[in-house]
Symmetry: none
Subunit: 189 residues, 4 copies
């Protein structure tokens, strides 16, 4: 897990706040600097440019999520169904809480950080895939392409969190999403 200095953390927090509530081009670095209580020039000591800062934000958010999930899955002694349930609930909770997290998973700019982030995304997919594969091996799941399914999951949770029906609560989504996925891959008799 990447370590961040205190100042770097302040900047990333401020930037996360802005980038998750405004599109890239509406976020001003002077505002980020102000919110982080650092000088505008200081941003450039820690991040090469606006784009790198943007990806650093997403990367950190994503890393925290992936790390937490990985820990839960690897450490617990859970069945594939339980593991998948954990993942879906955890993702839903997170994205539901940060639904304004608009750009997250959104834009596509070529930039070194972007690749770093792509790796994290792959890490998440691979985690989910491994759970499905394990379930298949244990005869609980059947799936002709677990990697695709692994990609579906964060994708639809993001979507439903972002544009959620009015008055729906997180638990309802969690429950429904688990049922849907588990039914979608459970081994037929």
């Amino acid at each position: 897990m990447k370590e961040y200095s205190e100042k770097e953390t302040r900047i990333l927090n401020a930037a996360a706040e802005m980038f998750t509530s405004h599109p890239f081009h509406k976020v001003l670095l002077s505002d980020v600097a102000g919110a982080a209580s650092v000088g505008k020039g200081t941003l450039y000591l820690y991040f090469k440019n606006k784009e790198e800062l943007y990806f650093a934000v997403i990367f950190r958010e994503f890393s925290i999520l992936v790390e937490k999930l990985t820990k839960k899955i690897k450490q617990g002694n859970l069945s594939p169904v339980e593991q998948l349930t954990t993942i879906i609930k955890c993702l839903t909770k997170r994205l539901f809480a940060k639904a304004t997290n608009v750009e997250l998973l959104g834009t596509f700019v070529s930039c070194p950080k972007n690749e770093e982030w792509q790796e994290k995304r792959v890490e998440l997919w691979t985690l989910i895939e491994s759970v499905i594969v394990q379930g298949v091996e244990q005869g609980e799941f059947e799936d002709s392409n677990p990697r695709l399914t692994a990609q579906y999951i964060p994708g639809f949770i993001r979507s439903v969190s972002l544009f959620r029906p009015e008055n729906i609560d997180c638990e309802t989504i969690q429950k429904h999403a688990c049922e849907f996925v588990l039914k979608g891959i459970k081994k037929g008799k």
Copy 2:
């Protein structure tokens, strides 16, 4: 269906081309004007500013898709399973083809056009939902919350199209997605 003049169409085509291959702030209106073979000022005759043009592009792309789907579903005499299959295949094909269509379904900026677009999104969800509900009524599907499922579908297709595994082809995704969804909501014995 909104009508567009010939010039408006040229502008929207050019803008779609640019916005789907570059992030918002990298798209220059002068380039759009050039690509549409109109003067820069002409853009402002048809669209109040860059943001409105951006949303007009997304809105039109989305409208075309929704209209096409609606027509297919409403006109054909298809079973719920066939209808859902049609929707998933169609969405997948479209998003797979425009995978660079980054912002599509993505960004969230308050702007009048945005609300117009939100309505289109709702239109799509409602269409899918109605197919599921019909399937439930006919005893083919079971789903405790068809609206959520309806939202999952474009969400995960977008995601898997955007960040698709290397060397995968559209048909594979179409087939797998259909199986996954149909299994996820098919009526148990």
Copy 3:
């Protein structure tokens, strides 16, 4: 006296309205056209460009004033004191009424119309000068440079009309200005 067609008059009226209440660069030709109920292109049938229209406005306003004054002076059988009083009162009344007539007599752009207008200005000065000279010849006035005095008069009336003390009325200014000027040039014993 220059003749204006009906349409030209409509345009000049509309332009006068705008130019006398806004600075040159804030006046949009589209607004002028709209106010005159003609197409934007029509303006260009009557006036070469914005600057010419601007000067045509000033020129017409000024011409009307000068012509009226000249008629009064030339036709009446007035003493020099009465003539000067008439001129001052007339100028004051006019400028007092159009005090927002900001640019009038103000800006300085080289343009053929400008020279035409300069001639009108000279016409006014010459008229006033001739009255003073006449007064000098009749032993009522003394003035080492009647032309300068002739220029002072519209200048200070413009200024006091434009930035007039609050609550002052036109008659007070008229009376005071007449006294001031007449005393300033009356023949000492």
Copy 4:
């Protein structure tokens, strides 16, 4: 007296140069920036926009004039006649030298700076008025409305400087203007 930083002064000097020789809409901020040897963006660090810069220029020019005059009048131990003579000569000299200073004292745009400038204008009028009142009190002048007279003076000097007869020199105007004003308000026997 308002203080200006070195850079602000450079900008104001450059802007004064441009605005006094060209009408507002012909002055390019890029030229101003170039002439001041600063970046275009730097202008916006010191002045909110073109209009504010414009008024800042006029305001400074005017302030300098008013301050100089005030100092001369207040410090010198001069009779009212001498004071008035000083004012008229000084104003004439100044406006004669900057006769291209077209807009000076001219335009009328609502803008915060404009009010600031109006105050300066009032300051000048009040100064002149006080000299006249003093002369009246000392039995040298008589004037039924010294404030009006005070407003006449800069007004007619501006006008005669702006549109001066050919080949006239400053001294001639100064001398004539003094005679005219002094005679216009001198106490009759």
